[in-house]
């Protein structure tokens, strides 16, 4: 069956009244979650996973994807109105969104952010449909040696790109995640490791309780101990909320470039929307004719940041579906949700369920339509929601953090796991350890462990194939380059060589 026929069929499945209803409420909820500082997309998807437990497979995944798309977009509301990014993904948005709002163009800034988000997601969807099937086909050639290096590469690149100036802390976070994954029954001989005499640990640490702790409870602690933002009361806003077509045409190249950059960043394991936004913003600024406007209310900067972070959403689903390796923290939760609902992501997906990728594309498209409609029509409602004080909101959020993990397993132990990861995650975040590599480590631990040992069994204990098989060698080289590039003295040496080369050339 051709691509368009598959898309048409999927479109038919997801445009029934009940599915449209699910898109409508889940995207709206996602926008609220994203717009409230302290609530992130990952937290929203993790909490909603427990609520979708009783839904059928298609509806459950649709609800989670709608929440993901809505939350990433929703972050721009508070970034523009409060100068506080609702989610880390919107940090770059506030650089130009807030100055625009101060100039009395808040509604227009939100309109531009909406258009940027929608266009970014659509570009990402096109690339998802184009890249995912061939990537799954390539991944079928992967054996234990390649999967081992893929897991190592994921941890290393995520640690390097998400660390705030110190890659060592990123690597440590990834290693701690891998260490957590070593707890419980291992996948080859079923030996229970590091259960510390606690029978509940025999099955390992659940991903959802750990994620809800790290991204939910830790956020509640951060939000309650920080200060509330103040809704902007600047000049009276007479700007229109529907962006001018001329502006979108003017910035078309920026939109396309940001969409492609965002999708590519999404494909890199465990990196996420914030890096997508910053990378797109930096690229747009480097090539802009109005560089001096960036940071002072540049429409181009705002569009680049929003297009970039939204394009990461479909991009991050490409490795999540075809390799079972998440491109971002929310897509890590989505992988867990896929398993809960009986879908096995990985290279076999195009053989076992070839229609699934097209279903995901249609789900993303419907959620994009929803953000477009809500974004251009419900601005006053979003402003009203932003006025809800944390004192009322956070206790409710924490109650959901408690009952959510419990609802999936019916074990009180998972509530304690959530509390433990929340407290540890809070301290680690304050010490500037990034959380995405930690989560990626928990997910990739089993893959890394099994792949290394299976590979060694196949090679009779010989390490050579890990470095001589073509794809393995490529990954090993990439890992080496990334690690070396993270060492300050090596980085300085490379810059010196580049400068000297440029001068000599």
């Amino acid at each position: 069956m051709g691509v368009f026929e598959q898309l048409f069929l999927a479109f038919g499945t997801f445009t029934t009244p009940i599915m449209i209803f699910h898109v409508a409420w889940a995207t709206l909820l996602g926008i609220f979650v994203g717009s409230l500082p302290g609530l992130t997309a990952t937290m929203g998807v993790a909490l909603l996973t427990s609520l979708t437990y009783g839904l059928d497979r298609d509806a459950a995944i649709l609800v989670l994807i709608s929440m993901y798309v809505g939350a990433i977009y929703g972050g721009s509301r508070s970034a523009i109105l409060l100068n506080i990014p609702g989610t880390p993904a919107s940090a770059a948005t506030s650089l130009d969104g807030y100055p625009l709002a101060r100039q009395g163009k808040a509604a227009y800034a939100m309109g531009l952010a909406t258009a940027g988000s929608a266009l970014g997601t659509i570009l990402g969807i096109i690339l998802l449909v184009a890249i995912a099937p061939p990537l799954a086909a390539v991944a079928l050639k992967f054996g234990s040696f390649e999967f081992f290096w893929l897991a190592v590469f994921g941890i290393v690149i995520s640690g390097m790109l998400t660390a705030d100036g110190n890659p060592l802390k990123g690597y440590i976070a990834g290693l701690l995640g891998l260490a957590v994954a070593m707890i419980g029954s291992e996948g080859i001989h079923a030996v229970v490791r590091f259960n510390m005499g606690i029978p509940e640990l025999n099955g390992g640490i659940g991903l959802i309780p750990a994620m809800v702790g790290v991204f939910g409870f830790a956020e509640v602690l951060t939000a309650m101990s920080g200060s509330d933002g103040v809704i902007l009361k600047a000049k009276k806003d007479h700007s229109r909320s529907v962006p001018r077509l001329a502006d979108l045409v003017k910035y078309r190249l920026t939109i396309i470039k940001s969409g492609v950059i965002g999708t590519m960043v999404g494909i890199i394991p465990g990196v996420g929307e914030d890096i997508g936004a910053w990378a797109s913003y930096a690229a747009a600024r480097a090539n802009s004719k109005e560089k001096e406007m960036f940071g002072k209310g540049s429409q181009e900067g705002l569009i680049a940041a929003e297009t970039g972070n939204s394009a990461v959403v479909p991009g991050s689903l490409i490795p999540a579906i075809t390799l079972a390796i998440p491109g971002s923290a929310p897509s890590a939760v989505l992988i867990a949700a896929l398993f809960i609902h009986g879908i096995r992501p990985g290279p076999m997906i195009m053989i076992e369920q070839p229609e699934f990728i097209f279903s995901i594309a249609v789900m993303l498209f419907l959620a994009t339509l929803a953000i477009l409609i809500y974004g251009l029509s419900l601005t006053p409602l979003f402003v009203a929601v932003l006025r809800v004080p944390n004192a009322y909101l956070m206790p409710i959020i924490f109650s959901l953090c408690v009952i959510g993990p419990y609802a999936i397993s019916q074990r009180l132990f998972d509530v304690w796991v959530m509390v433990f990861f929340g407290l540890v995650g809070f301290v680690l975040r304050k010490m500037k350890f990034p959380m995405p590599p930690l989560v990626l480590g928990i997910i990739l631990g089993a893959l890394l462990d099994k792949s290394l040992r299976r590979g060694l069994i196949l090679s009779d204990g010989d390490l050579t194939p890990f470095f001589t098989r073509p794809i393995s060698a490529g990954f090993a080289f990439l890992v080496l380059v990334v690690v070396l590039a993270g060492i300050p003295s090596v980085k300085r040496l490379i810059w010196r060589l580049i400068r000297n080369g440029g001068t000599n050339g």
Binding site: A179, M224, Y406, Q410, V415, G422, L456
Partner: protein
């Protein structure tokens, strides 16, 4: 407030200890000789490797050179608010849940936390009565909503 440099040094020591513990744990782990498995597939192999890497990274963190961000104190925000939030949350999740019916535990938690954070010293009796009323009302409404939603819509046997 503890400077980042000191916190990193403490973390470095913790990581070295954790790494050594993992190496030891992996070394003494069952090697399943009785089942005749391949020696390269022993369950302790990867934990030993990870332990070594964690210990090395811990050592590097401990010895990491001076940079401008390391002298900054760690910003935990308002400590009083943080301790109240952490305390109430831990009491709710670890002590009350499982001992008190979920709806009651949730009511107590939401009412206590909302009232604590809307109560203002010296704001006057009327303002604080208002804070208490809205705290209790929020507790009743949201504990009932969450309980009904999970019990009857998602068919979860509540703790």
């Amino acid at each position: 407030m503890m400077p980042m440099r000191t916190a990193d040094k403490i973390m470095g020591i913790v990581l070295i200890l954790l790494g050594v513990a993992m190496i030891w744990g992996g070394y003494v782990m069952d090697r399943l000789e009785i089942r005749g498995i391949h020696p390269a597939s022993i369950p302790g192999l990867v934990p030993m490797g990870l332990g070594a890497l964690i210990a090395i990274c811990g050592g590097l963190l401990f010895a990491s050179g001076k940079n401008e961000t390391q002298d900054e104190p760690i910003d935990f925000g308002d400590m009083s608010k943080l301790l109240w939030t952490a305390g109430l949350s831990v009491v709710f999740a670890v002590v009350l849940i499982g001992r008190v019916p979920f709806a009651w535990a949730t009511f107590l938690f939401i009412a206590a936390m909302t009232t604590r954070f809307t109560w203002t010293k010296g704001a006057g009796i009327v303002a604080n009565r208002r804070a208490l009323f809205f705290g209790l009302a929020s507790g009743v409404f949201f504990s009932a909503t969450i309980s009904v939603l999970f019990r009857y819509a998602f068919l979860v046997r509540l703790p």
